[in-house]
């Protein structure tokens, strides 16, 4: 079953408002692919807040754990932040499609909480392509937001890691797109792939730049979702092509959350 109540093995505070919840979920761990997501019920009674929250899969362990990283921004994530190890939580998933690893060089671009799904993806790409072919480009608002994920990017020796903060409190002062443009100058045209997750304006800029560079680009989108199983049809994005139902919209939960950037009407 894709719905299960699972044990929380840890709920680690990574920064003032960012947490990592570690779940004992062997079935989900075995099935998960980078870029997929879980629908998590933040309340016990299912009334307040009513709807599940979609969270990208941050990491999967060989011992059968699935990790999600989340930022406390509303009532649901506030409730989640107070959950302790040993408790249980209801999940549905893994849902959606994932990233497709394809290219000579791989540019993993994460912005803010869009960094969350990149750890799982990085492991997969490193395994398939080898460390010298992997380039991690991360941007965040400030040092604290970026440092929440330092356990992810710090230990990866042999991988090219480039960092930026909007306020200049750490690493490059500027946007992650600056880092991508810089990498574009180094690697030139070629069969390279960009994997991107972050705020919509950032993904739009990365998609545009990737096109200019002649590189492929996959984006992981986030929208408001009620069900995550393609029943509510609420999580739509405008598309440049007709969807499987013949309409002009794609559904993030079913057709995504990962899309080729050319499929999205930016």
């Amino acid at each position: 079953m894709k719905q299960s109540r699972v044990e929380i093995s840890a709920n680690v505070q990574l920064s003032k408002s960012i947490f990592r919840m570690e779940l004992v979920a062997p079935e989900a761990a075995a099935a998960a692919r980078p870029g997929q997501f879980l629908m998590v019920q933040a309340s016990d009674d299912g009334y307040d807040p009513l709807l599940r929250r979609p969270f990208s899969i941050h990491n999967v362990t060989s011992s059968g754990e699935v990790h999600i990283a989340y930022k406390v921004i509303g009532r649901g994530t506030e409730l989640m932040s107070r959950m302790a190890a040993g408790g249980t939580i209801d999940i549905v998933g893994p849902q959606g499609n994932g990233f497709t690893v394809n290219g000579k060089h791989h540019f993993i671009v994460g912005g803010g909480m869009g960094i969350a799904p990149m750890q799982f993806l990085t492991k997969k790409i490193v395994k398939e392509a080898g460390k010298p072919k992997v380039h991690i480009l991360l941007g965040a608002r400030d040092k604290a937001e970026l440092e929440a994920f330092n356990e992810y990017y710090n230990p990866i020796s042999g991988v090219d890691v480039r960092l930026a903060t909007d306020d200049g409190s750490f690493a490059h002062h500027g946007l992650v797109t600056d880092l991508l443009r810089e990498a574009g100058g180094e690697f030139g045209a070629g069969q390279h792939m960009v994997y991107c997750c972050g705020p919509h304006p950032m993904m739009k800029a990365v998609a545009t730049l990737s096109r200019e560079l002649g590189w492929g680009c996959q984006v992981s989108l986030e929208t408001m979702m009620a069900c995550g199983i393609a029943a509510c049809l609420g999580c739509t994005v405008e598309s440049t092509k007709l969807n499987s139902k013949g309409g002009a919209y794609l559904h993030v939960c079913q057709d995504g959350p990962v899309f080729n950037e050319g499929d999205i009407k930016w």
């Binding site: 019920q41 408001m224 009620a226 069900c227 199983i229 029943a231 609420g234 739509t236």
Partner: protein, 288 residues
């Protein structure tokens, strides 16, 4: 039953509950031609509820028959097809196309969707128009007709009586309540459609009251809908006079909600020594 618009065409839920054990699957509303629906954002969460303005996105009747019905026929469940149109002629055309399709046990007329500009709610807010569309469809339909009523009216009993008079075999109520939400940062409505339909536990007391009133005003069966999330909610609706219930938004929250409710109702009957659920229908009414 599962409520239209919250259970897709059934197959979306096959991994989460035994579909064949449901009383019936009421499928996503079908129009004659496919519809793309409204632009995003289409949904927003509210206190114990949600607003939606999906805009009746659906595959249209031809693709429904070709691509969706075979799965429903294979499941072997009772299928109720919810239909919608911009005109009485469109409602009739859909029904005529469905008349010879096996596996359908009833038609539910959606005359109460608040999220489309034409048709929809216009039929559901005037008793004379509701009666007219019901009568017209009844004349051409091989199946029993359930008319789904809007709560966005002055007197829902008047609407129920009108469609009963026009030949409806049952009524289902309620559809969503019209509402809206505003983004205080952007200072704009959240939904691209500005207004949407409110559903979920927040609307349950309103729905229960309307089922209570309508079940005393008509003689045909009343199907209760509106915020039913637990078996206790379902029992309340049956005690209020509902012959059956539909589970809607709860399917989004817990994809196995309908099964949990079905099992819970049976357990309640067993625990209380009640042989038939018919004994409970309207049992909360005075004099029962």
């Amino acid at each position: 039953m599962t409520a239209s618009g919250t259970f897709g065409y059934g197959e979306e839920f096959e991994e989460y509950l035994p579909l064949e054990k449901l009383g019936a699957i009421v499928v996503k509303g079908i129009s004659f031609n496919p519809r793309s629906g409204n632009p995003p954002p289409r949904i927003v969460e509210t206190a114990c509820g949600m607003l939606n303005a999906i805009g009746l996105e659906n595959v249209g009747v031809e693709r429904f028959i070709k691509e969706k019905m075979p799965y429903l026929q294979k499941v072997g469940n009772k299928t109720i097809v919810n239909i919608l149109g911009d005109s009485i002629e469109e409602y009739c055309a859909i029904v005529e196309r469905l008349n010879d399709v096996s596996g359908i046990c009833a038609i539910e007329l959606n005359i109460s969707c608040p999220n489309v500009k034409k048709g929809g709610v216009a039929f559901g807010t005037k008793a004379s128009m509701a009666a007219e569309v019901t009568r017209s469809v009844k004349n051409v339909c091989n199946f029993p007709i359930i008319v789904k009523l809007s709560p966005n009216v002055t007197d829902i009993c008047e609407m129920a009586c009108a469609v009963q008079e026009a030949g409806a075999d049952a009524v289902s109520l309620i559809n969503t309540l019209i509402g809206m939400a505003i983004d205080i940062e952007k200072k704009r409505p959240v939904l691209a459609n500005t207004i949407g339909g409110l559903s979920g536990p927040a609307i349950k007391p309103v729905a229960l009251r309307m089922v209570w009133q309508v079940s005393q005003a008509v003689t045909i069966p009343v199907i209760g809908i509106g915020g039913i999330s637990t078996w206790q909610d379902a029992i309340e609706f049956i005690l209020a006079g509902a012959t059956a219930i539909q589970v809607g938004t709860a399917n989004f929250v817990n994809p196995n909600a309908a099964e949990k409710i079905r099992v819970g109702i049976n357990q309640y009957l067993q625990d209380n020594g009640i042989e038939s659920i018919a004994d409970l229908i309207g049992a909360a009414h005075p004099g029962r």
